[in-house]
Symmetry: C2
Amino acid sequence: MTIATEGGLLGAGITGFRTPPALTAAALDDYAASYGASVLELDQALAAAPGPADLIDLTHGDTRAFVPPAVAAADFAAAVAENTEAYTAYRGSASLRSAVAPRLARLLGRPVDGASQVIVTPGTQGGLFTALSALISPGDTVALPDPEYFMSERIIAYLGGKALRLPLRQDSKGLLSITRHGLAAAASADLLVLSHPNNPTGGVYTAETVQAIADLVTAGEMLAVVDQLYCRLIFAGTKYLHLSSLPGMAERTVTLLGPSKTESMSGYRVGVAVGPAPIVDAMERVLSLTSLRTGGYSQQVLRHWMADDDTWLAERTAAHEAIRDDLVARLRAIRGVSVAPPAGSSYVFPDASGTAAGSNDHDLALALKDAGVLVSPGYQFGPSGRGRFRINFSQDAGRLAVALDRMETVLRG
Amino acid sequence: MTIATEGGLLGAGITGFRTPPALTAAALDDYAASYGASVLELDQALAAAPGPADLIDLTHGDTRAFVPPAVAAADFAAAVAENTEAYTAYRGSASLRSAVAPRLARLLGRPVDGASQVIVTPGTQGGLFTALSALISPGDTVALPDPEYFMSERIIAYLGGKALRLPLRQDSKGLLSITRHGLAAAASADLLVLSHPNNPTGGVYTAETVQAIADLVTAGEMLAVVDQLYCRLIFAGTKYLHLSSLPGMAERTVTLLGPSKTESMSGYRVGVAVGPAPIVDAMERVLSLTSLRTGGYSQQVLRHWMADDDTWLAERTAAHEAIRDDLVARLRAIRGVSVAPPAGSSYVFPDASGTAAGSNDHDLALALKDAGVLVSPGYQFGPSGRGRFRINFSQDAGRLAVALDRMETVLRG
C-alpha cells in the first residue's frame, strides 16, 4: 500500500504553509504501528480508491428510505416565512429552548432548565466538538470505550488530550459491559466520553455498567460527555438507562442529543446538548468562535421534535428491528464472520477476522469498495476494530440485499 | 462597574471543571488595562444590562426589512424534497461547488477550481474559524487591522497566536489605507487577516494599499485570509480590488464569502471559502472535526447565489446607499460625533469620544441600551475602538429613525 505522506499532500505548491500541530495530532499517527499509516492516511486512501458507479454507501443512513417527519420541513418553511429568528442567542433561540426543555426532561428522567442547561448545536457532532473543547485542556486524560465513535479520539487528540481506551464486552443480546476492574484504569482520568447506544456496535450498556460509570465519575470528581444520539431507537426487550438520571450525575454530565439519525433530519444539521449551566456557558463561548450559532431557521425544526410521536417512533423502531434481524442472520451465515446483534441504533459491527479477506479491515474495506459496497473500516473506531467493519442498516431493503450479496462474494473469498 | 470574575461565573456549583486555557485566552484579558475588565466580561455585562421591551437591535441587519431573494427558500425546499444530499463530502456537495466555481471566478477575477479550491462552510464565520484553525500554530504572529471584525482577535488568541494590530486611516470618501511604513511592522508575521470591506468601518481599501498588502505577503512568503463577506455591496464611485486577483496571491490567499449579509440569507448559515488546494484540504479536516459538514440542505441555497442578479444587486446597493447618506448626515449633526462614510457594507463606526457620554464606549453602549438601542461597542473591534460604536444600518427606515432619536438624546447629554 502506497500512501502519500502528509507533507506531500499538504505542502504541495505553496511555501509558508505548515500544518498546525493540533491538526497533525488529529491524524492519529500511532495507528501506523498496526496499519503502516495514520488514520488520516488510511481514510484518504480509501476515499481515493476506485469503486463502481453504482457503489452502495453503507457508512450512513439513507434519508430517502427512512424520511424525516413531514412536520420538519413545514417547521423550517414557517421559520423562513416568519423570519424573526435568523439571529438568535449563540446558544440558540430562547423560546425554542424553553419549548424543548420539558421534552428533554421527560426523555432523560431529570429536570432540565431551558435557559441555563440547554444549547442548540450544529448537529450532534457539533455538540461533541463544542463540549470537548469546553472541557479538555492540553495534557488531560480522556477515557473512552474501545470501540467508540470515530471522531471522538481525533477531537481528543486535536485538543491535546491523551486518550485512554476502555475495552468493551458485548453479549449475545447486544448488551455492553465494562468491568469495574476495567473502569478502574480510568480512575485518574479527567473526563469520560462515550456514545450510548455505542457507535459502532449498537450495544446498550447494562444497568450495572451505567451505575459503575456513575460511581467512577462521582467518586473521582470527573466529568462525562455522553452521546445519546440514538437513545430513542432501542429494540424490544432492552432497558436503557440515562447516565445523567443517576444521583449526582446531572451536575457532571453533558448529554448530546439530536434528530439526525432516528428522525433522519441529518440534512438540517441541528442537535441539542444538555449540561450543567457553567459548562453550557463555556460551550456557548466555543460555539461563538466556531460558527456563532446553529442556523437560525434550522433550529426551528426542533419545534415538534419528540412531541407526541410515540406511534411514529414505535413504527420506525419496529422497521429497524426487522432489518436488524435479517441482517444479523445473513451475516452469521457467512463462515468466519461473527456479529453481536445491536440492541439499539442502526449500526452493526461484524467481525470478519475469521475470513481470508478480513484480517486487515482497511484492506477489506478497499476490497468491498471495489465490489460495490462502502463500509466504515474498524480502525476508525479504535484498536479493537481490527478485522471489523461498521454498517449503517437504515437502508432501502432492496439496496441492502444487493450490498449483502456483494459482501458475501468478497467475504466467502 | 462590577463584573463577576470568570471563576465565579464558570466555576459555580460543580467541581472538577476548569476552563481550558484556549478559551481563557479568547476572553482577551489584556483589555482590562483600558476598561477594567476582559472583553468577555464587558460583553457579559452589556448582555446582562437591562433594556426596554422595545429595544432596537442595531448589532445586525434586519432580515425582514431586507429579505432574502425568494429563490433561496425555493432552493432549500427543493433540496428537502429531493433529499439526495443530506450527506455530502465534508467540504460540501461536489455538484454545487462545481456550479458555483465559475461565479466565484467571475467575482474574484481569477480562475477557481470547484473540486480543489472551494469549501462550503457553516456561515462565513465558520469559514473564518476553519481557515484560521488550518493556518495558525501556537506562537504564530498574526497581523490584523485595528479596528477589525470582533471575532478575529478572539479566534487568534484561542488558537495560541499573537495578534499584531495595524492602524487604519479612513478618508472622507470612506477609503481605507495602511501606510507601507505601517505594513512593515507585519513583515515578520506568519499570517495576515483582514475584512474587506472592513468590518466595522465599512471602509474599502485603496488600490495602493491592496497592492502593498500583496507585496508584503508575497515578499515574506506569508499567507492571507481576507473576509470579503460584503464585497458585492460597494457604493457608487468606489473601486474594489480583490486581493487574490493580484499576481502571486491566489496561491497565498483564502477568500471568505457568503450570502449572509448582502443577500440577507443569515438564517441558512452557509458560506464559501476559496483558497489554494492544500489549505482547502486542511480546512476540510478542521471542518470534519468541528461539525462534519455544512448543513446538506442549506448548502443548496447557493444554487442561484450570484447568478444573474445584477439588477437585484443594483437595487439593494442603491437602497443601502440612501440609508447611509441619511444616517451619516444625522450622526454628523450631533455635536462631538464624527464619522467617515462607509464606502461599502452596511456598517458605520461613528466616533463619539467628543461627547460627554462617549469617552468610554462600554459605558456608552450601556447608556444606549438603557435608552432603547443596542449597538456594538468599539472595544469589540480593537484598541482603536475607544469611544466608538458600530451600527448595522440594513434596517427598516422607521425603526432606524426612532433609534437615531434615542441615540441623539443620549449623545447630546
